[in-house]
Structures are given as structure tokens and as C-alpha cells.
């Protein structure tokens, strides 16, 4: 058991240290192991905490037709144990050492992590290296996790109001690109898959040269490097992971779709546009447009539709960016008896205004302050820092420093850029209009 001592700092001792408010740079070191594993280390001794994380550059877009849901399924499967960790022991080891852990999957990557008191750094490295080196992938694990994932799908999508909204937008905006498929996938695909297919998927994607190991927190960098070499060094590298982006042809004409959700009673009407991927400056501009439209009580759609006209219960405008493309979604839930068409008309008016007029200098200043505020809040926990560093390396052309450059990019965006991006992406002839309605689908 840990010995715990309480030490009380005199307040004055801390008050003397004052950092310059603007100099909030996240420091890190990075290097590659011979097997291709990219390592990023960030040291912060403020709290006795360490985050150990691995980001594998594999998500649902790497799946082949007929085998959707694999990447997410692995998020579950890779907790089943390894050659040295018995089935069911993985999470127990984490909690029995005072840690917490989880994982999540997107279209583009899978992120596994543990947060431990800092004296359990080595335990975290052992767990993640076991998972990468020789996880047990067998029938019993596949069967059990197959049932669990089906329950997850029911709980997170099928039994949840508006649970299938994003999946429907993706399905409609992408016709040939694998973003067409949902991350959780089709249950029949997992049911039909053979054990050998799971093993092959692991061999192809869960190799050190397709992963980033990021450690953030109360660590000694030199000792940590030695431990990493010991635990991850012996894992053999694999063939380079090849990914060919499928080009989605420009939308020929507007799409209109209707989806029925038995869990809701209020419609959600939305328009959605295809935009550019993460690494583009345009993705940042679209983020600013989202703030302008729907962030805060003074934002354009909120003020007009919720406060002034009182016709919407809620408005939303956000840029869901992915590696290859993004989705820009604007929508509203009606209040009282407002018609869907009224909501769409009001949304369209604001889009046209963005495309026609430059935003005011006051609005611009507001956006700059909001972006700075977001930036300051983004890196306040070690786990968040670890993920942001790994994101930079994985999605911004190996630019791990991306999180430190973000604010400068926002500051470089002009009012003209905002107008031009609205013209470029929010094209009324190239969009989806989705009526997400209460009730059961009628037979077609």
C-alpha cells in the first residue's frame, strides 16, 4: 500500500512563481524507436499523475467492404488479455494500481490510454506494450465482445434520441469513401468474420510503425526513455501501412433524405456539406464560422432563431473534421409548431449573409477571443495534452508541435477568409438536407 503524506506548502512560496500569461507552450521531446514506433514525451511535475497512451493510425476508414466495425471491435478485443495478462485481468491491473483507463475509436484512429499515479508509469508501459506485442485474439474473446458491442450499439445509437443522426449524415455525404460507414459498423459483418480475419487485421495495422506512444505528466524523461526501449524495443515492426484515399466525386445535385427515429418526438432538420480534412487551414476557418453561427447567446443563429423569433428549441452548427474530409452541419429543433421549412429558410438566410457581407470588426474580435479561450482550455489535463500531441503527429504531417501553432493560425485568418470559405463550402447545390423525424419508418 502506498504511504501517503500530506505536505502543506506555504501559499507565499507558490505565489512567487508567476508565468507570463501568453507563454503557454507545451514542451515535448520526440523520437523514433528502430521498429518505427514514434515516441512523444511531455514532462509536468505539478501533480503526481502520468498519462500513458497509444494512438494507432487505424479507424473505420481502413475497413474493407463487408467487414465494417473492425477498428471499433478491436478497441474492445485488445482489452481481452495478452500472452502475459490473463483474460479479464487487463482492467483489473489498472484499477488495482489506482489507475483509470479507456479507449475510443474514430473513422481515422484508435486511442488507448491509462492514467496512473506517477509511480506506476512502468505498469502503464507494460500494459500497452503487451497489447501491442502479443494480445490474445481467440474465439471466446470475439464472441463475448460481439455481444457487448451489440449492446453498445443499442445503448448509444438505437435507444438514444437522435442517436443515428450523424451516421445518417455520413452515409449520405459519402458515396464511395469509407466515411460512408458508421464507426460501430454493421453487426452482421462482425458476426460473419472469421477469427483469421481479426488476426490479419491486427497484423496489418497494430504495428509499432503505425502507432504513436505519448507519455505526459510527472516523469523523468531519461528513465522513461530507457523503460520504453525495454518494453517496446523488442516488438517487431511490420510492413509499412499503405492507405489510399478514395476521392469522393463532387456532389452532382442536392440530396434530400428522411430518417425516422422512434425515440424522439421533435424533428431535427439539418443541412450538411462536405468540407476539407483536418490539416487544412480551411478547417480552422470553418471552426470560426461555427462559433459565429451557434456559440454563445449572441451567435447569429441562436439569437435569431431561439431568442428573437422563438421558433427553435435549439440550433447547432459544427464542423466535424476528419482526416480526408470534413462534414459541416447546420441544424435546428423546432419550438412549438414551427415548420421545418421555416427553420431551413432562416438557416439559409444566415449562410447567404456570411457569403455576401464581411463580418464586422467587432464580431471578428469576439471570434479571436473565443478561439484564444478554447486554446487555453484545450491543454489543461495530461491526458488531453497526450492526445493533442499525438493528433499533431498523426494528422498534421508529423507536426507534433501543431497544438502550439494553432492560435497563430486562427490569428492569421481574415474576415475575407471567412467570407470566402463560406462561399467555397456552403454551396446550396452541393449539400444534404436531412429531415430527422419522430416515428417509425414507413415501408418504402
Amino acid at each position: 500500500m502506498q504511504t501517503v503524506k500530506n505536505v502543506f506548502f506555504a501559499l507565499t512560496a507558490v505565489a512567487g512563481i508567476s508565468f507570463s500569461a501568453q507563454a503557454q507552450k507545451v514542451e515535448f521531446t520526440e523520437y523514433d524507436l528502430p521498429n518505427g514506433l514514434h515516441v512523444i514525451l511531455h514532462t509536468d511535475h505539478h501533480a503526481p499523475v502520468v498519462a500513458v497512451s497509444v494512438m494507432y493510425h487505424v479507424g473505420s476508414k481502413n475497413e474493407v467492404p463487408g467487414r465494417t466495425g473492425f477498428a471499433h471491435f478491436f478497441e474492445h478485443l485488445l482489452f481481452e488479455g495478452s500472452e502475459n495478462i490473463k483474460r479479464g485481468e487487463f482492467m483489473k491491473i489498472v484499477s488495482a494500481n489506482g489507475g483509470s483507463n479507456n479507449a475510443n475509436t474514430t473513422q481515422d484512429r484508435t486511442f488507448y490510454f491509462e492514467v496512473f499515479p506517477s509511480n506506476y508509469l512502468e505498469t502503464g508501459l507494460w500494459l500497452e506494450s503487451e497489447r501491442m506485442m502479443h494480445p490474445v485474439i481467440n474465439e471466446i474473446g470475439v464472441q463475448r465482445q460481439d455481444e457487448v458491442v451489440k449492446e453498445e450499439k443499442r445503448q448509444s445509437f438505437d435507444n438514444r434520441p437522435y442517436g443515428n443522426f450523424i451516421n445518417t449524415v455520413e452515409k449520405d455525404l459519402f458515396t464511395v469513401h469509407p466515411y460512408h460507414n458508421s464507426v460501430i459498423g454493421e453487426m452482421k459483418d462482425i458476426d460473419a468474420a472469421k477469427l483469421e480475419e481479426f488476426k490479419a487485421f491486427f497484423k496489418q495495422y497494430y504495428v509499432p510503425n503505425n502507432a504513436v506512444l505519448t507519455i505526459a505528466g510527472d516523469i523523468d524523461a531519461a528513465k522513461t526513455k530507457a523503460l520504453i526501449a525495454s518494453y517496446f524495443g523488442p516488438i517487431p515492426g511490420g510492413p509499412p501501412v499503405v492507405y489510399h484515399k478514395v476521392e469522393e466525386p463532387p456532389m452532382a445535385k442536392p440530396i434530400v433524405d428522411t430518417f425516422y427515429d422512434a425515440n424522439t418526438q421533435i424533428p431535427l432538420v439539418a443541412v450538411a456539406y462536405r468540407t476539407s480534412g483536418h490539416d487544412s487551414r480551411d478547417a480552422r476557418i470553418m471552426q470560426m464560422i461555427s462559433n459565429l453561427l451557434s456559440s454563445g447567446g449572441s451567435s447569429r443563429l441562436y439569437k435569431k432563431m431561439v431568442d428573437d423569433k422563438k421558433e427553435a428549441l435549439q440550433v447547432l452548427a459544427f464542423n466535424s473534421t476528419l482526416e480526408d474530409y470534413g462534414m459541416y452541419i447546420i441544424g435546428a429543433l423546432p419550438n412549438g409548431g414551427t415548420s421545418n421549412e421555416t427553420l431551413l429558410k432562416d438557416i439559409d438566410e444566415e449562410v447567404v449573409k456570411l457569403q455576401t457581407d464581411l463580418i464586422s470588426p467587432e464580431d471578428y474580435e469576439k471570434l479571436e477571443n473565443q478561439m484564444e479561450n478554447n486554446y487555453v482550455n484545450a491543454n489543461s489535463r495530461q491526458l488531453g495534452i497526450a492526445e493533442n500531441l499525438a493528433n499533431g503527429y498523426t494528422f498534421y504531417h508529423k507536426d507534433t508541435n501543431e497544438l502550439n501553432e494553432e492560435l497563430a493560425i486562427y490569428k492569421s485568418i481574415t474576415r475575407e477568409d471567412i467570407r470566402d470559405a463560406a462561399r467555397k463550402y456552403l454551396d446550396a447545390n452541393k449539400r444534404l438536407t436531412l429531415y430527422y423525424l419522430p416515428g417509425k419508418a414507413k415501408a418504402k
Binding site: M1, Q2, V4, K5, F8, F9, L11, S18, A21, H46, A47, P48, V49, N84, G88, M91, V94, S95, A96, N97, G98, S100, P117, S118, N119, E122, L125, W126, S129, V148, E151, R154, Q155, S156, N159, R160, P161, K225, A226, A229, S230, G233, A262, N263, T264, Q265, G296, G297, S298, D307, K310, L333, G336, E362, E365, N369, M371, V376, R381, P438
Partner: protein, 480 residues
């Protein structure tokens, strides 16, 4: 010459081998690594000031990021709304609708211009901003608390939104479950059991909002926490300027009678035909205070049963049987009654099997001692999560306000881990028998009755039927 070079090369080679050794030591992968020496935990107490009007100010200085956050909490305890159910939440929303001197549009513009967040609710408020804008953001929060506009127009808008919002949740099994759990357990007249309905919202007036505001938004029993890039003296000066002159009624906590558990364990079933999963809650009321000697053993007992992803419920219902995405339990500790609640969302076909497993696991907690390993693991988890929690600078302020609100000893958190470590397997058994009330449980199930009733009937417990508002239903719709 030659010799010298050789020697040098050998030295370099030796050096390289040593380097190599430092880089990658041989490790034994077959065993879990031993931890390093435990870190010393430092709990830096917040600076506490008491304002003459009743506000307790707690300041945690942390200059790592150029931002400051303020949270104001009025400790009114549970409040009975009675016929006015829904008024408190509506009153809280009304505080975000501008002030006497600043209409809503101007207020929102002022907040957004700073890039700040300012929000109010019926038990207080929140302001967060970059350091250079914090004073302005805090003043806006103060103004909204002290001087709300309360216009009829805002009231009508929020009322209509509330009605639409209620409608939007009408078929949501999770929302229905949350409502009926509390209503059935505490009773519909208890502040924790009462709920708003379309009828109660329709009847509310702007005057009701003003009345509840006058009674409950006050500096009395107010706890204001300020965390971040600010010096305590500066924080105190700001708060004194903004909230110092504020006056309001003195709050006292309502006296609320305890509610009973059922005489015998029962199933309470609510039919939601569209549900693809059943929301299962196995509950009983408990009387447990944070200051009680039982508090620490109760933490551990609940953790072993269902506190996490390696606790018994999760391991059994998810990992062993695959009935659910997750199964958990909680055991509340508060000044008033709270709940023991074991719960999961389970697919229709396995609803009755899941209930059987819940009962078996609860029974096992009460009849068998937990293992030493389970106890040690639970202790370690609490030690670790305590340490991990210190990453959040506001945590120490939460400790301090918890001590004040719950009347705990001053060293409650400083001796927290010692008390966790002192818990024995006998304590855990005693606690399970006392607080996990196997013979007086309510098993509240919200789901598709047609699909789950036949299975549930086989369990052999009495089944009561209720509608979505916790009213008894005599003829079950799906009994046909």
C-alpha cells in the same frame, strides 16, 4: 600510436555497451512491474474568506494557464416545489435572460465579446474567462444574480421551450427511467421524487419565478470558489466589490421526512413499447452521512460490487454474460436520505436474466466476505484516484467546501486514505447487510413490456405496473 587508438576504440565500445544497457534493460514481461516509490501528495488548502453577508469565498491560486474560473453554489438543500414543480429550473433559466440594465441581447454580446462563459442556474452561477477578462466576466455574473430582468417575454419563451423539451423526452426510456426511479423511491411529494409535467409548467406564472427567486437566490449559505490565475487578495477585493453589498434572506434547510423502502422486494414495471433495451435500476433508500464511520467501508463495499469496470457487476453482466454495455452501482451519502442503486441498460431478451444476476450479486455481498485481494484492489483504486484527482486545481476547494457543508472534521481529506486503508472484509460484509437491502428492494424496469414481462414473471417476485409518470396501472397493457 596504434595501441592508443585501439585502447580508445575499446573504451568507446565499452561505453556503447553501457549506453545500450541504459537504453534497454532486460525485463521480465511475465510479471507485473513493481511500482516506484509512492509520490508525496500535497494538498494545498484554499485561502478562505467569509463575507459579512454569508458568502464563503474559497480561492485556489494556479498560474499555469492564463484563465480564471468562478463557481457560486447556494446550499439550499432539496427544495419542495409542490404544485409549482419545474419552477426552480425555470427560475434558473430566467437568470440568463438579461438584467434590469442590460437586455438579454446586450448581456450575451458582452459575455461573448470576452470569449468568456457566464451562466446561471437556480442554485448559483459560473463564470470563466481569460485572466485579462475575468473581472468583467465575474461582474456580469454578479449582475445577473442580483438584478435579473425577469421580463414576461423571456418567461413565455422559456415556458414554451420547456414544454417542447418535455415533449422531446417523452419517449426516451432513459429520461422516463430517471423520473420514475425517484418518484417511486422517494414518493411524488418528496423534493427528490417530485417532477415537472406539462400541466405543472402550464400553470406557472412569472410571479412564481419572482417568488422563488426572492426566497432562494441569496448570499446566505453561498459558497463561491475562484480558481486559477489570480491572487487571493485580488479575488477577495473583486468579490467584495461585486457581491459584498448584496443582501438576501437567510436560508435554512427544509425538514424532510424519510421515505420508506417497500415491505418486500418488488418489481415495478413501466411500459415503453419503442425501447430496444430495458433500463434496470435495483434500488433502496439509505441513511448514510459522509461523517459516519460507515462512510469509508460503504465506499469500498460499493466499489467491489459495482463501482467500476472490474467490479463484480460489470465482470458478471458484461464480461461473463454479455447482457449489457456496462453495469454499475452507487451508494449515496448525503445529509438526507439517498440511494443505493445498481443499474444497467440491457437488451430486451436478457432483462429477466440480468435481474436474476443483480439479485445474486447483491446477495453474495451480504452473505460472503469479499476476498483480501478484492479489498486490497479497491483500496489501491481509491488511493490512486485520490492522487489523480489532484490534477484538477479546483479539487482542493471542493474538499474544503465539502468539509463546511457536511460538517466534517477539518482533517477529513488529509486522513482520507488512512481511513480507506483501515476498512476490513468484516466491515464490508456488515455494510452490505446494512445498506444493500436485499429484502426491501425496488427493481424498477423501464422497457418494452410485451417483450420482457413473460420472463420477469418467472422470477417469482410481485410485479407492479406503472405509467410513465409513476401512476399505478391496474391492467397491464401487454398482459394480453
Amino acid at each position: 600510436m596504434m595501441k592508443n587508438t585501439m585502447k580508445k576504440l575499446i573504451m568507446i565500445a565499452a561505453g556503447a555497451i553501457l549506453m545500450q544497457y541504459a537504453q534497454a534493460q532486460t525485463i521480465d514481461r511475465s510479471k507485473e512491474p513493481a511500482p516506484g516509490p509512492a509520490p508525496v501528495l500535497s494538498i494545498k488548502d484554499p485561502v478562505i474568506y467569509k463575507l459579512p453577508n454569508g458568502i464563503t469565498l474559497l480561492v485556489v491560486e494556479d498560474h499555469r494557464l492564463p484563465k480564471v474560473t468562478a463557481t457560486y453554489n447556494i446550499d439550499a438543500g432539496p427544495v419542495t416545489e409542490g404544485e409549482k414543480a419545474g419552477v426552480l429550473s425555470l427560475m434558473g433559466d430566467m437568470l440568463n435572460e438579461g438584467t434590469k440594465t442590460m437586455p438579454k441581447a446586450d448581456f450575451d454580446e458582452a459575455v461573448d465579446k470576452l470569449g468568456a462563459s457566464v451562466s446561471l442556474n437556480w442554485s448559483g452561477g459560473y463564470a470563466s474567462a481569460l485572466t485579462r477578462y475575468f473581472n468583467s466576466a465575474f461582474k456580469l455574473m454578479g449582475q445577473a444574480l442580483k438584478d435579473p430582468a425577469f421580463t414576461q417575454e423571456s418567461f413565455d419563451k422559456l415556458k414554451s421551450q420547456e414544454l417542447t423539451g418535455l415533449k422531446s423526452q417523452a419517449k426516451n426510456a432513459k429520461a422516463i427511467s430517471a423520473r420514475v426511479n425517484n418518484a417511486l423511491t422517494y414518493g411524488k411529494t418528496h423534493p427528490d421524487g417530485e417532477f415537472e409535467t406539462e400541466e405543472s409548467i402550464q400553470k406557472l406564472t412569472l410571479q412564481d419565478v419572482k417568488d422563488f427567486y426572492a426566497r432562494y437566490i441569496t448570499p446566505s449559505r453561498g459558497y463561491l470558489t475562484i480558481t486559477g490565475d489570480i491572487k487571493p487578495a485580488e479575488a477577495k477585493a473583486l468579490v467584495t466589490e461585486v457581491l459584498g453589498p448584496w443582501t438576501g434572506p437567510k436560508l435554512s434547510l427544509e425538514k424532510i421526512a424519510d421515505s420508506p423502502n417497500p415491505g418486500k422486494t418488488e418489481i415495478d414495471l413501466v411500459d415503453v413499447p419503442n425501447a430496444v433495451q430495458s433500463e434496470i435500476h435495483v434500488v433502496n433508500l439509505v441513511n448514510l452521512r459522509m461523517g459516519d464511520a460507515d462512510y469509508f467501508p460503504a465506499l469500498i463495499a460499493n466499489y467491489i460490487l459495482g463501482g467500476g469496470a472490474q467490479s463484480r457487476l460489470f465482470m458478471d453482466l458484461r464480461e461473463k454474460h454479455g447482457f449489457t454495455y456496462g453495469a454499475y452501482s452507487s451508494l449515496g451519502a448525503a445529509r438526507l436520505q439517498s440511494l443505493f442503486d445498481a443499474n444497467a441498460s440491457v437488451r430486451n431478451a436478457k432483462t429477466d436474466s440480468a435481474v436474476t444476476q443483480f439479485l445474486a450479486e447483491i446477495n453474495r455481498m451480504r452473505t460472503e466476505k469479499v476476498t483480501d485481494e478484492e479489498l486490497a484492489n479497491a483500496n489501491a483504486l481509491y488511493a490512486g484516484s485520490f492522487a489523480r484527482g489532484l490534477e484538477d486545481p479546483a479539487r482542493t476547494a471542493t474538499f474544503a467546501s465539502n468539509i463546511l457543508i457536511n460538517n466534517l472534521p477539518a482533517d477529513f481529506y488529509k486522513t482520507y486514505l488512512q481511513k480507506v486503508n483501515a476498512v476490513t472484509v468484516d466491515d464490508v460484509l456488515r455494510i452490505a447487510q446494512k445498506y444493500m437491502d436485499y429484502d426491501h428492494l425496488r427493481i424498477i424496469i423501464v422497457g418494452s413490456q410485451a417483450q420482457i414481462l413473460p420472463g420477469l414473471q418467472k422470477i417469482g417476485l410481485p410485479i407492479n405496473f406503472f405509467d410513465k409518470y409513476a401512476n399505478p396501472v391496474t391492467t397491464p397493457a401487454a398482459g394480453k
